[in-house]
Symmetry: C2
Subunit: 228 residues, 2 copies
């Protein structure tokens, strides 16, 4: 790993061969605040591992602290079992808008994306495992950790939790209108602009087995209408 | 690749070592209709490649026909340049709901996910390239191919398009309420159920450079309120 450590200040991510932005440089960010914001805006990542030389990409839930990404470990553990030093890639993507230009060639997507590289560590310490699961749970549904029954010793033992350091990461942010508004295609008289995508929570659907009279708690109903 | 070709009928996907469902067997599907439905419901995939032995997962747009997934090729082409026979993994995920159980341990996510393995082919034939770009464009915004200016010869030459056969794929679908409604935790009196996630289009945002009086065409405004 070729870390250019001179660029690694407290607010800047270190730039490595893997995280150096090769395309669309204008969209690349090495600000830790941008990484934190992309991670805070979601709860699903795509985890890439190599198994028998072949890439495997699986969606999984995550929870982020300032320095660590916690992941459920069932898939990555197959990769780690084969090679405990194996590097994985975790990608978190938020699609913000379709960019509809005058020409098909200038069509694009506005998005925010974080890619994190590293070797995950299997969390074995019971206290850290509980804290990691709290972070995972709160990432998707804040308030749920205090509401639901927490894992007991047997459940903790049955859970594989991985910790990935947030040391080597790359953030790309693409935003703004199409780029052919001042070119010859603007004369075509076609509509152009952004078509935003919104991810929202819909009203909760009670478990059919729920006893009558139990209503969704405020921390869940508060999510309604929240836009990520 | 260990293809169990005896299971590969017209409506069933072949099962290979990579696509055999190891976990949550109840959620695995080898029905081609399920694959088609997952692909039809989106336009962003996560492409996994191996570069220097390390996985790299990048989001990119795709377009699907019955037999082929078309992808923009800039990232995968780096992997293919190193090894033209390299296998990639393309994953398309739709998150449908958070599953909030009585216990943290039983929390999960309802989702639909397709994983496709294969070696992409660089599309060189001009006619197929144009058709692939049409499929890509129509996947996200149906009607836009006929509306926008199509790629000219120079733009076609500047576009790298990849074709991935839809031969080796795995589909997982997780749905339904939490599973602790008939266990001891049901006595806790806690709310449990699903919190659905909805992906919707918001009203189009015109390009600030748009000439006055040009309104968004019907095929774009028709997307509003559509739920994927």
């Amino acid at each position: 790993m070729d870390v250019n450590s001179s660029s690694a200040g407290s607010g800047q991510l270190a730039v490595t061969d893997r995280t150096r932005h090769r395309r669309l440089r204008e969209n690349g960010s090495t600000a830790r605040a941008d990484l934190d914001a992309v991670l805070a805006a979601g709860f699903i990542c795509h985890l890439g591992v190599v198994l028998d030389g072949v890439p495997m990409v699986v969606p999984t839930v995550y929870g982020a602290t300032a320095r660590t990404l916690y992941l459920h470990g069932s898939v990555a553990s197959r990769s780690l079992a084969a090679d405990p030093e194996a590097t994985v890639c975790v990608t978190v993507t938020h699609v913000d808008a379709l960019v509809l230009a005058r020409s098909v060639f200038e069509h694009s997507v506005n998005y925010r994306c974080a890619m994190i590289y590293g070797t995950p560590r299997t969390v074995t310490d019971a206290e850290e495992k509980l804290e990691g699961l709290r972070v995972l749970t709160e990432q998707a549904a804040p308030g749920q950790w205090d509401y639901a029954r927490r894992p007991n010793r047997k459940e903790l033992a049955a859970t594989t939790l991985l910790a990935l350091p947030l040391d080597e990461a790359s953030v790309k942010i693409s935003a703004g209108p199409p780029e052919d508004g001042d070119g010859p295609d603007a004369e075509l008289g076609l509509w152009a602009g952004e078509l935003p995508v919104r991810l929202t929570w819909a009203p909760p659907v009670p478990d059919p087995q729920l006893a009558p009279g139990i209503t969704a708690p405020p921390h869940i109903t508060a999510l309604l209408g929240r836009t990520d």
